[in-house]
């Protein structure tokens, strides 16, 4: 590099790098410390390992969970349900929010209903989904119910940001509402769409686990509930750890795809 780098700038870069490394090291230490104190406090019987499980036992019986409890199969079921639920709620939310934009009358009419549906704890609808959709499909019902309203509200808020003078420009070319949608609204709301996807994937996972709690024969939610009932805290803890990993992976994939989309349309 031919650029000028003063000693002060180099020192600044070094400081930045060191600080970054320190943050990573502290993070890792914090996790290790947590696991260690968990292990020690159960080993020394400060707490009852029947109630908390213990890291060493989790590791020791992981093989058993994989082969006898089929924990990876259950993770896969939850993943599958979350992906389907996510796609369903994005598609439904997207179509409905376009409809609400297209017809301001409809939007005004439905506004109070959306507010109520947003405030309502969707978990309360669980038994209804169970009766209407049966034990398998009710999971999707729950997943969509929890994530779709927020999706509609977020996408719609993005659509409302379309400025008056952008509309004026389009009208000056004689654009109809469909053309405004196609040429401005959809591409302009890609950043909102990406933000909505990120929120949606988390909420869908909540819905899926909730649905599995209420009615299911498989999935991490089922396994957590089952493990609790037979007092197998190690199984519960392992399932939770896998769930955490799963949620990070799903979120990561969605952010990655979102960033690709943003870059493709020059928002980044």
């Amino acid at each position: 590099m031919s650029e000028l780098q003063s000693p002060q700038y180099q020192a600044y870069l070094r400081r930045n790098k060191r600080r970054k490394r320190l943050i990573w090291v502290t993070r890792t230490l914090l996790l290790l410390l947590f696991i260690l104190s968990w292990e020690v406090s159960t080993a020394l019987h400060w707490v009852d390992s029947m109630l908390t499980g213990a890291p060493s036992k989790i590791i020791a019986s992981f093989q058993e969970y994989v082969f006898r409890s089929g924990i990876l199969y259950h993770s896969w079921v939850t993943t599958y349900e979350t992906v389907i639920g996510f796609l369903l709620s994005m598609v439904i939310g997207f179509i409905l929010s376009i409809l609400l934009w297209y017809s301001p009358f409809l939007s005004r009419v439905l506004d109070p209903y959306l507010v109520v549906l947003n405030a309502l704890p969707k978990v309360a609808l669980g038994p209804i989904f169970y009766i209407w959709l049966g034990d398998r499909l009710s999971i999707y019902g729950m997943a969509v119910a929890i994530s779709v309203i927020v999706t509609i509200l977020m996408l719609n808020a993005g659509f409302q940001e379309l400025s008056g003078s952008q509309l004026k420009l389009m009208q000056s070319f004689g654009a109809n509402r469909w053309q405004i949608l196609r040429y401005v609204l959809l591409p302009a709301s890609i950043p909102d769409f990406v933000a909505t996807m990120k929120v949606n994937v988390g909420l869908t996972l909540v819905g899926v686990i909730m649905g599995e709690f209420l009615s299911s024969k498989a999935g991490l939610g089922y396994l957590i509930l089952y493990g609790g009932q037979i007092f197998q805290m190690n199984l519960v803890m392992t399932s939770i750890v896998l769930l955490a990993i799963l949620s990070i992976i799903l979120y990561g994939i969605v952010s990655f795809l979102g960033n690709l989309l943003l870059r493709k349309y020059h928002f980044q």
């Binding site: 003078s165 952008q166 004026k168 420009l169 389009m170 009208q171 000056s172 070319f173 004689g174 654009a175 053309q179 040429y183 401005v184 591409p187 302009a188 890609i190 349309y265 020059h266 928002f267």
Partner: protein, 254 residues
Amino acid sequence: MKVIEFKEVSFRYFSPSKETEALKNVHFQVTEGEMVSIVGPSGCGKSTLLSLISGMAFPSQGEVKLFNNKVKEPSHRVGYMLQHDHLFPWRDILSNLLLGAQIRKMDVNEAKKRALYLLEKYGLGDFAHFTPGQLSGGMKQRVALIRTLVVQPDMLILDEPFSALDYQTRLRLSDEIWHIIRDQKKTAVIVTHDLSEAIAMSDRVLVMSKRPGTIKSEHLIHFAGKRPSPLQVRQQSDYQEYFNDIWKELDGDE
């Protein structure tokens, strides 16, 4: 030939709490090839007036005619340039220029040729495949003007086209835009709150009163010899006189 004709035009608009009279008895004409500026205090209905010309609003009373036809819908003969360029970041410069042609379902290949020609002609030939974010504010505003020229309007209306720019860019750009409009032999109506810009750019200045807006006075801007460009105008000895006259007119409203 008369391009624009306002006959005793009034315009009222409604909100749930009140009725507002925005324009009252507006009466004026613009002939082919003229550049006319409209100045007036803010909120006097200047932009409303442009909406009436472009067919996005219709008079409550009176009549607005474009090329001797009553305005009933947005006309393809009018090009509209706004304060903000609104070049879309997901389109490169060339495809931003084709927006109007796509909406109007014109021959896109023909439009592309025109767009490239105009870009080349007005010094932006190298930027066809840049994204808007890579251009300066002044360049983007020039692209915005070219975007309206690509659909081949017979006349242009410009709504505060320079007010989002810094002072220096503003002076230079008003000169460039003036040259382009002259060069293309377009009739133009420019709304501005900048008095010196109005004098520098136009053949005639219409002064509006505060709301309900009406045309208070008309000032022909004329210089001996060849019409100087906006940058030169500001150095003419007559310029200050025009400025003082119109200033007094506007000041009478306070």
